[in-house]
C-alpha cells in the first residue's frame, strides 16, 4: 500500500485526467482493440446457436414444432428430417428452467407453433436446474433475441466473448487456428459429429463396457419435488397456450443403462405417470433401452452420433405425424 505520509494528491480534475486517466486509457487501448477484434471474430464463427438463430429469424412464421433439451437432444434430433417445420433449440446442459424461459420468449413469435418437445431423460428430475451456464444468456440474446437475464438488458449484454473468455478463446482457436470446424445443416445439426469415446475405443464392445462413464447417481427427493412441480408448470403453460406436448428420452447404450440408479429411474417413471394422469394428452417417446440402436449409433453412452440421430428423429417424426 502506498505510504500515506507521501503526498501524491492531485486537486485539479484536468491533472487527474492527465496524470492518471490518460496513462490508463493508453494502457487499455490495446486491450479494448483486441477484445473488439475477438468479439467480431467470435461473432463470425458458425455455431449451432448462430445457425438456429438464423433459422428462427427466417422461418418463425412457419415453425410448427419446437424441440428443447440438453446435449442429448441436440445430438439426437436432426430437425431437417422432421416433415413439419421444426426448430431444435436445445443446447449442452440445458435444463427445464432454460427450456421454459426460451419457450416463453418464443411463444409469441411463432404463430404456427403447435407442438413442443421436452426432454425427460433418466436423471432429469433429480439433477438440479443449473445456473452456472449463465454465460449462455448473451448467446440467447444475440442469436435468438430472447432475454433470459431476468432484467432489462443493455447492448453490452449481447457481447459474447466477454461473457466467457475461456470458452470462446477455445472456439476461436478451434475455428481459426486448428480449422476444426464442424459441419452444420440449416437447422444447426452437426453432421460430422462422430467423435467420442466409442469411436476412440473403435466401437469395441468389451472395451466400452469396461470403460468408466460419467453418470449422475445422486438421489435427491427435494430436487425431484421441485423439478417435477416446475415441469408441471411448464405443461400447464403449454396447455394454456394450446400447445401439444411430447416428452422424449433418446436411446442410451448398455454401459450407461446398467449404471443407472434404479431408485432414480423408478421415481422418474412414476413422476411421469403422475404428470400423464394430470395431462393425458401428453405423449411419450422413451427410447432409452430400444434394442434397435447399435453401438455404432452412439458417440458415447448417452449421446447418439448422426447415424443414431437419423433413426431417432424418424421415430420422433412418426410420432409427430400420428394423431
Amino acid at each position: 500500500m502506498p505510504d500515506p505520509k507521501k503526498n501524491s494528491s492531485i486537486s485539479s480534475f484536468k491533472a487527474i485526467l492527465k496524470r492518471f486517466g490518460l496513462p490508463v486509457v493508453i494502457f487499455f487501448i490495446p486491450v479494448v482493440i483486441i477484445a473488439t477484434v475477438l468479439e467480431v471474430m467470435v461473432g463470425k464463427i458458425p455455431s449451432t446457436y448462430s445457425i438456429v438463430g438464423d433459422y428462427l429469424n427466417k422461418e418463425a412464421a412457419d415453425i410448427e414444432v419446437a424441440v428443447f433439451g440438453s446435449s442429448q437432444i441436440k445430438n439426437s434430433v436432426d430437425a431437417s428430417l422432421i416433415s413439419k417445420n421444426t426448430l431444435n433449440i436445445s443446447s449442452s446442459a440445458q435444463h427445464h428452467n432454460t427450456d421454459f424461459e426460451l419457450l416463453k420468449g418464443l411463444v409469441d413469435r411463432l404463430p404456427n407453433l403447435k407442438t413442443v418437445v421436452f426432454e425427460v431423460s433418466y436423471g432429469h428430475f433429480e439433477i438440479p436446474h443449473n445456473s452456472k451456464y449463465y454465460w449462455k444468456r448473451p448467446v440467447f440474446l444475440k442469436y435468438y433475441g430472447i432475454n433470459t437475464f431476468d432484467r432489462a438488458t443493455t447492448p453490452a449484454d449481447s457481447l459474447l466473448y466477454m461473457s466467457h473468455p475461456g470458452f470462446f478463446t477455445k472456439q476461436l482457436l478451434g475455428h481459426y487456428v486448428k480449422d476444426s470446424l464442424p459441419q452444420f445443416n440449416r437447422h444447426g445439426f452437426e453432421l460430422n459429429n462422430y467423435k467420442g469415446r466409442f469411436k476412440k475405443l473403435n466401437y469395441d464392445l468389451q472395451k466400452i463396457l469396461n470403460d468408466p462413464i460419467n453418470i449422475s447417481r445422486r438421489e435427491s427427493k427435494e430436487t425431484l419435488a421441485y423439478n417435477a412441480a416446475y415441469f408441471k408448470d411448464m405443461l400447464a403453460f403449454c396447455n394454456n397456450h394450446g400447445l401439444e406436448v411430447v416428452i422424449i428420452s433418446p436411446p442410451t447404450f448398455a454401459n450407461y443403462n446398467e449404471k443407472r440408479d434404479q431408485n432414480i429411474l423408478k421415481r422418474r417413471d412414476s413422476t411421469l405417470q403422475a404428470l400423464l394422469a394430470a395431462y393425458p394428452e401428453v405423449r411419450l417417446l422413451i427410447s432409452e433401452t430400444d434394442p434397435r440402436y447399435m453401438v455404432t449409433d452412439f458417440r458415447n453412452g448417452n449421446h447418439l452420433n448422426p447415424d443414431g440421430a437419423e433413426k431417432f428423429t424418424k421415430q420422433l417424426d412418426s410420432l409427430l405425424n400420428t394423431n
Binding site: 500500500m1 502506498p2 507521501k6 492531485i10 475477438l38 452456472k132 453490452a156 478463446t169 445422486r218
Partner: protein, 476 residues
Amino acid sequence: MLFNSLSFGLFLPIAFLVYWAIGRQNIRQQNLVLLLASYIFYGLWDWRFLSLIFASSIVDYYVGILLPKAQTKERKNSILALSVVWNLGVLFLFKYYNFFIAGFSELFALNAEDYVFSSLRIILPVGLSFYTFQTLSYSIDVYRERIKPSTNILNFLCFVSFFPQLVAGPIERARNLLPQFDKERKFDLDLAKDGLRQILWGLFKKVVVADNAAVVVNTIYASPEDHGSLSLLYASVLFFFQIYCDFAGYSDIAIGTARLFGFRLSKNFNIPYLSRSVAEFWQRWHITLTKWFTDYVYGPLAKNSKNYLVRTGALFISMGLIGLWHGANWTFIVFGLFQALTISIERIPVTIKGKVVNINYYLTKMPLGLTVIYSFTLIMTSCIFFRSENLDMAFYIIGRILEGVPSEPFSLEIGWRVLFIPLLILMEYFTRNQDHPFVKIDSKTGRVARWAMYYLFIFFIFRYAGPKEEFIYFQF
C-alpha cells in the same frame, strides 16, 4: 452487478469520472455522487431491496442520534434493542426463517401443511449479512460510547451502502469507514494506481484460480460416489483455494475500487493457508468477520476470563454463529463448530515444569511446513462440510477419502491450469508482508516491464478464465 462483468467495467470508469469531476468541489457533492453510484450499483441487481438498505440505514442512524440523548440505562438499552431487533429480525426473516421453520416442523414431526407458519418463498437480498452487521456494529459502538454518532444522514447512508464493499464486505466498522465520509477526499495518484493493481490481482484470483478450481470441485462433488479417495481429496484441496480466491479476490477488487475513490478499506485476508494453527487461521481468514464476532459475541461472553471452560463455551457459541452466518444449513454450523473444537483443543492448558503452555505454543516452535500441513488438513476437512449439500454427503466424502478407494482414472480435470495455484502461492508467499503482490512493483521495475506484467495477467484473465461463477459469498 458482478465485479467480473463488463457492466462493472463500464460502470466503474463512469462513476470514477463523475465522482472526481463533479464531486471534487466539496464533501457533500462527493458523497452524493457516491450514494447515487452505490444505489445504482445495488439497484441494478434488484431495485426493490434498495428500500431495505434505506430502511436499515434510517433505523440505525436515528438509533445513533437517540442513544446519547437517553437519560437512563433502561432507555439506552431499549433504544439499542430497537437496532438489534430490526437488524437481526430482517436477517432472520430473509435468511433463517425457512431453516428454523423446517427444523421446528421436523423436530415435532409436523407436516409443512399442518403447521401454521408455512415456509416463505423469498429470495435473500444480496449483501444482507454484510450490511446488517455493519449497521448493527455502529449502533453497539455508539451505545458503548466508542464512537460518536453520525449527525449527517448523507454520510451515514454512504457508509451503509458504499458500493465497493456493499455486497460482500469487508465488513467495515464505523470508526474506520465513517470518518472517511466526513473528510474531503483528494485524488491520490499512488493510491489510485495501487487500487488498479489490486483490482487486477483480485480478478486473477477470482477468474483464473477460483473459477478453474470450481470446475474440478463441481465435477467431483456432483457425484462423489463415482470418484475415489485421491480425486475427492484433490477436489477438497481445490475447494479451499476456490473459496479463498473467490472471496479474497472479491475483497481485493473491493479494496482496490475503494482506493480509486480515495478510501482505505480494512484488510480481509492475510494468506490464510500459511497459518500455523486453526486459531491463527481465523486471524488471517475473513478478518473483518472474525473481529466482528470477537468484539460483539466472544468478548462479551468470555469477559476477559482466564477460565478455560468459560472461554471454550464462548468460543463454541461464537464459531457456531460464524458458521450460521454463512448460511441457513447444518453444514455451515458444523463447519463452525468443527473449527471451535480444534481451536479449543489447541488451547488446552498444560503445566510443564511449572509453566502453563498449550498446543499453540508448540506449533509456533515447529517448522512452518509441518504446522501448515497440520492446520491445512483441519481447515480442508471443515471445508468439506462447507461445500457439501448436507451432513450426510459431508460424512460420506470424508469416509470415502479415509477408505482409500482407488481413483481410476485420476484426472486433474483442468489439466495444467492447476499450476495457477502454485503460482498464486509463490507470488503471495514472496510478497507476504504486503497487501498484494503488485504493491512495490513501481520501485522495482520500469514502466515497460511493469506494463508487460500487467498485460500478462490480463492475458491470463482473458485466455484462461474458468466458466463464469457467481461470487460464493454473494449468497451469504
